[in-house]
């Protein structure tokens, strides 16, 4: 059976196109998944619009219970992500 993480990878990979784009998903004990999607698709989009883009895709592959297993998927542009990395 395909895992939630695998389904998320399949759904969100379409946003990973540019050289600085990437998708990172991590398991959160005991049975959830947290993610970071860095994508130039998010340039010029508000943070709520980015979440809509993400969830439009996740809703296609996750059933209602599986959706509750997603802790968060952060949505950064490559430029923002660099700033956050410098902050950490």
């Amino acid at each position: 059976m395909e895992t939630v993480k695998s389904k998320m990878t399949r759904a969100l990979s379409r946003f990973v196109a540019g050289p600085a784009d990437r998708l990172t998903l991590e398991d959160v004990a005991p049975n959830k998944v947290s993610g970071m999607l860095v994508s130039s698709h998010f340039d010029g989009k508000s943070l709520s619009e980015r979440q809509d883009l993400i969830w439009d895709e996740l809703d296609k592959v996750l059933d209602p219970y599986e959706r509750t297993r997603v802790v968060i998927v952060f949505a950064d542009t490559p430029e923002e992500h660099k700033l956050y990395k410098d902050t950490a």
Partner: protein, 147 residues
Amino acid sequence: MELRPEHYLLAAQERLSEAVALRRGARWVLAMYVAGLSAECMMRAFIPRDSEFDARHDLGALLGASEWPLGSSERRRLHTAVSGIRVLWNNSLRYADEARVRSHLKRIGLDRGPGIQRGADALKVRCAELESHASVVVRIGSATWKP
């Protein structure tokens, strides 16, 4: 129930996702309440464990009591986001029906102005705006978090 900083961190992230789901389901008022709650959780994650401070649900006081290891530009972003949340959120939202919140937005002039286009649903717009502010708080907190 004992809640440690790491629990508040995870709760902040979960509440934010739940706020997104509620907004997408047109549950504007509850989405706004939960988005603000996500920011509150994140600020609680940064309050020193030995602190006896109890800010209740006052985001300004919580921000003051919390200790964020940030540079000046990130601190400015955080404070801007918290200011935006404080305009749109308070703990009483959980008791308010949709009509009450709409009339409140009208009374304080937030049913119009920048960001509200002609014919737009002000509650829907403000809901997305609050979520975006909360996203900044949760994102900065997650980026700077050190167990």
